[in-house]
C-alpha cells in the first residue's frame, strides 16, 4: 500500500478539521477526493506529506510513518510529488530552473542529468519551447503543467493534487487534465482533490467524499456514481453535476 491513512484526527485549535479519517491509496491507484468547501480536503492531502501535522492516528507513505519524529521529512517529501491550486512556481527562476532546482539540491543530481530530465518532462507536458521563459510569461494552464513537470522530475512514488484546475480559466482546464489522464494511464499512484467529475469518472479507481472532516463515502468509482449510500453525498453530487 502506497498511502495508508488510519484514524487521522486533526484540530485547528478547538476546531476538529479531520475526524477519524481512514483510507488508503494502493500502488497504481487513482483516488479522487471531493466534498464541499471547507470540508477538509486540502487539510487531509497536506497531512499526507506532513505539510500539516495531525494529533491522532497514523499516515504511512511507502511504509514510513509520517508523524514519527524520527522520520526524515524532507527525504519523504522528495518522494511524493505535490501540485497546488495556485501552481506556486518560483517567480524568480526560469521554467527550466524551476524544474532543475530540487533535482540539484535535494537529489544531488548533476547539472547534466537534471537538465536531461527537465527537457524530457517539458516535452512531455508540451512546453519544450518555453524552458528559458519565466513563470509570469506563461498562461495559468501552462504554469500548472510546469508545476506538474517540476513534481514529476523528482521521480515520485505518488502524486498529490489539490484542486489543480480550480484557478484556471475554463479553456485551460482540459490541457492540465489531459496531462493528468496520461499519468493515470501510465500507472502513476495519485490522490487528487478535484471537482471535475467527468475527469474523475474516467480516471479514478476510487472516489472519496468528505463532509465536515469525515470520510462519508469511499467506494469504487462506478459504484460511487451509480448509487450513493449517504444522502449528503447524493445532495453534493446533485449540486455539482447539474452545474
Amino acid at each position: 500500500m502506497m498511502i495508508e491513512i488510519t484514524g487521522v484526527t486533526k484540530y485547528y485549535g478547538q476546531f476538529e478539521v479531520l475526524k477519524n479519517c481512514t483510507t488508503h491509496v494502493d500502488k497504481g491507484e487513482v483516488v479522487v477526493v471531493c466534498g464541499p468547501s471547507g470540508s477538509g480536503k486540502s487539510t487531509l492531502i497536506k497531512c499526507v506529506n506532513a505539510l500539516e501535522p495531525f494529533q491522532k492516528g497514523s499516515i504511512r507513505v511507502d511504509g514510513i510513518e509520517v508523524s514519527d519524529p524520527a522520520t526524515d521529512l524532507p527525504d519523504l517529501r522528495s518522494r511524493v510529488g505535490m501540485v497546488f491550486q495556485n501552481f506556486e512556481l518560483f517567480p524568480h527562476l526560469s521554467i527550466e530552473a524551476n524544474i532543475m532546482l530540487a533535482q540539484r539540491i535535494v537529489l544531488g543530481r548533476t547539472e547534466d542529468a537534471a537538465r536531461r530530465q527537465t527537457i524530457e518532462l517539458l516535452d512531455r507536458v508540451g512546453l519544450a519551447d518555453h524552458a528559458t521563459k519565466f513563470p509570469a510569461q506563461l498562461s495559468g494552464g501552462q504554469q500548472q503543467r510546469v508545476a506538474i513537470a517540476r513534481a514529476l522530475a523528482m521521480n515520485p512514488l505518488a502524486m498529490l493534487f489539490d484542486e489543480p484546475t480550480s484557478a484556471l480559466d475554463p479553456e485551460m482546464i482540459s490541457e492540465v487534465l489531459d496531462v493528468m489522464t496520461g499519468l493515470a494511464r501510465e500507472g502513476m499512484t495519485m490522490m487528487i482533490v478535484t471537482h471535475e467529475m467527468g475527469f474523475a469518472r474516467s480516471v479514478a479507481t476510487r472516489m472519496i467524499f468528505i463532509d465536515r472532516g469525515e470520510i462519508v463515502e469511499d467506494r469504487p468509482t462506478e459504484d460511487f456514481f451509480s448509487h450513493q449510500q449517504n444522502p449528503r453525498t447524493a445532495a453534493f453530487l446533485g449540486k455539482i453535476l447539474h452545474h
Binding site: N49, L51, P74, F90, P91, L101, A102, V106, P135, M154
Partner: protein, 230 residues
C-alpha cells in the same frame, strides 16, 4: 576677517586631513552596513522563530536600540562599559555602536522582506523536499531581496550621515575632522560647506549605485506581484 574666503574654501576642499575623514566615513559606513546586515538577518530570523525566548530577545534588542537616542549608544559603549571592565578603542566603540544600531533597523526591513514572500512558496519548496535552510537560501531570500532593496538603500543613505554621531567619542570621521579644523582656524562657514559638499557627494553617489542595483534586481518584480495577487 572677511565673511567668506574662497581660498580657504578651496584649500579645505582638497585638504588631505579632510579627505582622510571622508575615507573614514566611507569605510565606517561599509563595515557597519555589513555587520548590521549579518546581525540584522539573524535578529529577523529570531523574531520569526518558533521559540518564544528567541522572539523575546529579538524584540527586546530592537526595542532597546530603536528606542534610545543614537547619540547615546556610542557614548555608553565607549565611556560606560569600561566601568564594567569592558574596554574598547574609539574605532571599536564607533563600529560596534553603528553596527548594533543599524542591525536593529535592518532586521525589521529584512523581516518585512521575508514576510512579503507568499506562504505558498515555502510550502511548495517544502513539498519538493527542500530543507528549511535551502528554502531560505534558494526561494525566500532571492524574492525577499527585491522588497528589501529600496528601504535598505534608504538606510545606507542615512547611515552615511549617521556615522557623524561617532564624532562624540572623537572618532576621526569627516564631521570630527571638520570640527577639529574649525577650532584651529575659525573658518566655520567654509569648513562646514566643505563637509556638507562631501556628504552630498557621498549620498548622491550612493543614490546612483542604488538605482543601478534596483534596475538589476527589480526587472522581474512584476512576476512577484503576480504571485501575490490571487
Amino acid at each position: 576677517m572677511s565673511f567668506w574666503r574662497w581660498s580657504g574654501f578651496f584649500d579645505y576642499l582638497t585638504n588631505p586631513f579632510i579627505l582622510g575623514g571622508v575615507a573614514t566615513t566611507i569605510w565606517l559606513t561599509c563595515v557597519a552596513l555589513i555587520c548590521g546586515l549579518v546581525l540584522g538577518f539573524f535578529i529577523a530570523l529570531m523574531r520569526r522563530s518558533g521559540m518564544a525566548a528567541a522572539r523575546g530577545m529579538a524584540w527586546f534588542y530592537i526595542w532597546l536600540f530603536r528606542g534610545t537616542p543614537l547619540l547615546v549608544q556610542p557614548i555608553v559603549i565607549y565611556t560606560a562599559l569600561p566601568q564594567l571592565g569592558i574596554r574598547f578603542s574609539v574605532v571599536q566603540a564607533a563600529l560596534i555602536g553603528l553596527a548594533l544600531n543599524e542591525a536593529a533597523y535592518l532586521s525589521e526591513i529584512i523581516r518585512a522582506g521575508i514576510e512579503a514572500v507568499p506562504e505558498g512558496q515555502t510550502r511548495a519548496a517544502r513539498a519538493l523536499g527542500m530543507t528549511e535552510r535551502q528554502i531560505m537560501r534558494y526561494i525566500v531570500m532571492p524574492q525577499a531581496f527585491k522588497v528589501i532593496i529600496p528601504p535598505l538603500g534608504n538606510s545606507v543613505n542615512g547611515l552615511l550621515k549617521t556615522t557623524s554621531v561617532t564624532s562624540v567619542i572623537s572618532m576621526e570621521e569627516l564631521l570630527r575632522r571638520t570640527q577639529v579644523l574649525i577650532q584651529e582656524q575659525f573658518m566655520v562657514l567654509e569648513l562646514f560647506a566643505v563637509a556638507a559638499i562631501y556628504y552630498l557627494l557621498l549620498t548622491t553617489l550612493w543614490d546612483f549605485i542604488q538605482r543601478r542595483i534596483e534596475r538589476r534586481f527589480g526587472h522581474s518584480s512584476s512576476s512577484v506581484a503576480l504571485t501575490e495577487k490571487r
